[in-house]
């Protein structure tokens, strides 16, 4: 009896050890990337979500008709080719055949029309209506793999605007009874599994993915570590293989670490202060120019992003973009700034409130630097740094003197100039309005030839830089840090976080 008593636990122990060994072996043969994201996703409805943290996930789960490749050139994705009608009022997209959603259903034109109509439907509350042709666009299925879209006015750049996961094609079953997408059913290389609120999830390989041999990983285990130091420690301690960002001040030290690879790429983004043109004295162009001349962009860059940036002395587009324009008049010139202020009748300066947001500390640091720089030309500034939700409300209702913010994920020149600067456009929160500028950016939408468009936007850029509704500070840089065994990941200037070609070596 005693022997039997001993054998049972011994057997159990052996089973346990063997089981643990087998599961470890299975884990070893599985390619699983452990990735720490820096912020919790704010929902996974691609048509509604607006945060970078949501698209860090969604970029791997859903796909759009067109996309930008790693060199940011427009390329086919779910559509194989497209053409515009002669009158310019409609586009035809031919869809890729043999594409399946993660639930196994084949993607057809019906799904495309459903998704585009969901974006246009005001009840969805999507901020991307302009990207699918505007509220009056009509999407129709012509065959199982062909769709057309008709717009009231010619739209030469629709395929460019569609190159965003925010216009993703999803399966109808993604939408729950409340009209919300909690977990999208897409055609992307991964599917969402084990979703735990907004703190962790597993992206599992989509077995139905249409690109042969992809994705290379079996899964990505995503956790959220908001604190910079803890995220860095998790990477260095081997708890995770990959982090979506580190504190900019830590980059230099990490670059010297042999076990770590630091990727840095110039960001298609810019940081700026928007001036309220509906208020005095910012309605006077000389005052705005004075502010543009007064600031030292290198100091702002050091304070805001610890030197990981390229200063902008004119328009918002960095030298790395094909849409960079040379016009750059605003090198720091304090005397000229003072003279402009005097000419505008503000020789003794004036009081100004700077509005960064406490949610993004880089904007607060920039405000502190601006305070000193504007003080040098007699502008007496105070800083009001509300948190994000309140900030958005103040900005949206023009209740500010100057707001400090950034624009991200811009690829085409249209993204830079149209919606943020054209009269009464939804992105224009400074009140800037100039018919000459409007005419140019309207014309830019009708043209698809690069050189022709370049010439148009070059003029628009100059008008804008001279009018200074925004003072552009600099283009920041994106950073990703990973263990040396993580291969194939490409850090892109549009910040698209794609795990599809990533794999683990060794």
């Amino acid at each position: 009896m005693k022997k039997v008593r001993l054998i049972v636990p011994l057997l159990l122990l052996v089973l346990l050890i063997v089981g643990a060994g087998l599961s470890t072996m299975a884990q070893m043969s599985e390619q699983v990337l452990r990735s720490a994201h820096d912020a919790e996703w704010t929902g996974l409805d691609p048509h509604v979500a607006s945060t970078v943290s949501s698209f860090y996930v969604l970029a791997n789960v859903v796909e759009s008709l067109t996309t930008n490749n790693d060199d940011l050139e427009l390329t086919p994705l779910l559509a194989t080719d497209w053409s515009q009608s002669e009158d310019g009022l409609s586009w035809t997209f031919n869809l890729r055949e043999g594409v399946h959603f993660s639930n196994g259903v084949e993607m057809t034109s019906e799904h495309v029309v459903f998704s585009m109509n969901r974006i246009i439907n005001p009840e969805t509350g999507s901020g991307r209506v302009a990207s699918v042709g505007g509220p009056d666009a009509v999407w129709e299925a012509v065959g199982t793999h062909t769709v057309t879209v008709t717009t009231p006015d010619p739209n030469a750049i629709l395929p460019i605007l569609l190159a965003s996961r925010a216009t993703a094609v999803v399966h109808q079953d993604s939408v729950d009874e409340n009209g919300v997408i909690v977990v999208p059913i897409g055609t992307g290389p991964f599917t969402v599994e084990d979703l735990d609120g907004t703190i962790s999830m597993r992206l599992a390989k989509n077995e139905n993915y249409w690109q042969d041999g992809l994705p290379l990983l079996d899964a990505v285990e995503i956790s959220v570590i908001q604190e910079d130091a803890a995220r860095e420690a998790a990477l260095l301690g081997g708890e995770v293989d990959f982090v979506t960002s580190v504190a900019p001040q830590a980059v230099e030290a990490l670059q010297g670490n042999a076990d770590i690879v630091v990727h840095v790429a110039p960001a298609l983004a810019y940081k700026y202060i928007g001036l309220n043109l509906t208020r005095e004295p910012y309605d006077d162009v000389r005052v705005r120019q004075a502010i543009a001349y007064a600031i030292n962009r290198d100091d702002l860059c050091s304070a805001g992003d610890f030197g990981l940036c390229t200063p902008l002395y004119g328009g918002p587009i960095d030298t790395g973009s094909p849409w960079h324009f040379d016009y750059a008049p605003y090198s720091q010139d304090v005397e000229k700034a003072k003279a402009l202020l005097a000419e505008a009748g503000y020789a003794d300066g004036f009081d100004m409130e700077l509005m960064p947001t406490s949610t993004y500390q880089d904007t607060v640091r920039q405000a502190q630097v601006l305070q000193a720089q504007l003080g040098a030309i007699g502008i007496r500034t105070t800083i009001n740094a509300p948190e994000w939700a309140e900030w958005l409300e103040l900005e949206g209702n023009y209740r500010y003197d100057g707001y400090i913010c950034s624009w991200n994920g811009l690829t085409d020149v249209e993204h830079y100039f149209y919606l943020q600067h054209r009269t009464d456009e939804v992105f224009n929160f400074t009140g800037y309005s100039d018919p000459a500028f409007d005419a140019l950016v309207d014309q830019g939408r009708q043209v698809s030839d690069f050189d022709e468009r370049f010439a148009i936007y070059e003029q628009a850029n100059q008008i804008l830089v001279d009018a200074v509704p925004y003072v552009y500070f600099y283009n920041p840089a994106f950073v990703r840090v990973m263990s040396t065994n993580v291969k194939g990941y490409v850090l892109r200037s549009d910040n698209a976080n794609l795990y599809m070609n990533t794999y683990l070596e060794g």
């Binding site: 009840e123 509350g125 909690v182 803890a230 992105f427």
Partner: protein, 315 residues
């Protein structure tokens, strides 16, 4: 034990919880910031924001919104998160366990530090131990929690590689890993808690040690150990339990920063995000859970008084 008293307290707890939900509901409406605008980002059109407000029911009168919420909550339906569409109740349920575990381990660490130090410094006031204990308390109260947390991450995790810097493993899944992950956050929260408790234990003990009945006990010739443990400590416990109760409620609701620094999936971090994103249903749900927990702890502490000192009568 007076069961009528317990029933009365339970009823008043319900009133308190209801009151808290009303206050929070009003506050979130008054505070600037619109969840629809937060969801759609800085560049959304007014039409899109209005459309989303309508879909979320935010365009209805506040009273209607509250009564709707209350009606559903009474049936156990706390609604869906505005931002991610997930069930609020399910999200909260997943966070209660980690929050409770962290609060309890923090409290245990806090008491393990505070009790001996507080007792010794009360028994030997003005001694070196007392001076050091006072200094320790001052440091604990003054050091910001986030700084302490980050310092521990850098020294213990990064430099020494002793413990993981962040994350959580359920205790049922791997008790060893759970312990490894909870030590740093619990120590960070417990350290601050300990410094407050040390002061309270010291002053509570000092009060009773100077009381006449303790002098009498000594005069009777009782051993010092018996005087301290049987006469002084027993009476000091009433005050100590009060402060421990307050500490537990603070730990339940107030260790947001610890949770953020160590990526601990607790209620505090959830509530903080809900506030930042103006996710009203999630915030209401989190407040409801914390309010219930806090009133329950308070009730438990009150009942504990009765056990500690039978002279206390509840009316």
């Amino acid at each position: 034990m007076n069961y009528q008293y317990v029933l009365q307290r339970l009823l008043s707890a319900i009133v308190v919880v209801l009151g808290v939900t009303i206050v929070v509901f009003i506050i979130v409406q008054i505070v600037p910031g619109d969840p629809a605008r937060v969801m759609l980002g800085p560049y959304a059109s007014d039409e899109a924001v209005l459309g989303l407000r309508e879909r979320l029911g935010l365009d209805r009168p506040i009273l209607e919104q509250y009564l709707l919420w209350l009606g559903r909550a009474a049936r156990g339906d706390l609604g869906q998160s505005l931002l991610n569409g997930q069930e609020v109740a399910a999200q909260l349920w997943g966070r209660i366990g980690p929050s409770f575990e962290l609060a309890m381990v923090s409290l245990a660490i806090g008491l393990a530090i505070a009790f001996p130090i507080g007792m010794i410094s009360a028994l030997k006031p003005g001694s070196v131990v007392d001076v050091v204990a006072t200094l320790f308390s001052q440091i604990g109260v003054s050091v910001p929690t986030f700084w302490m947390g980050i310092l521990l991450v850098i020294v213990v995790s990064l430099n020494l590689g002793l413990l993981p810097p962040s994350g959580y493993t359920p205790i049922a899944e791997d008790p060893g890993d759970w312990l490894a992950h909870i030590i740093l956050p619990a120590f960070t929260a417990g350290f601050v808690s300990a410094s407050i408790q040390t002061r309270f234990i010291r002053s509570a003990m000092l009060d009773v040690l100077n009381a006449n009945y303790v002098q009498t006990a000594r005069a009777k010739g009782l051993a010092e150990r018996a005087v301290v443990v049987n006469h002084a400590l027993r009476n000091a416990l009433i005050n100590i339990v009060t402060i421990i109760g307050l500490q537990i409620t603070a730990l339940f609701s107030g260790i947001v920063i610890v949770e953020v620094v160590f990526s601990w999936p607790g209620l505090g971090r959830l509530a903080l995000n809900a506030v930042e994103e103006r996710d009203y249903p999630l915030l209401q749900g989190a407040v409801l859970v914390v309010a219930v927990m806090v009133t329950m702890v308070n009730l438990f502490v009150d009942l504990l008084y009765f056990l500690l000192d039978p002279r206390i009568e509840y009316v």
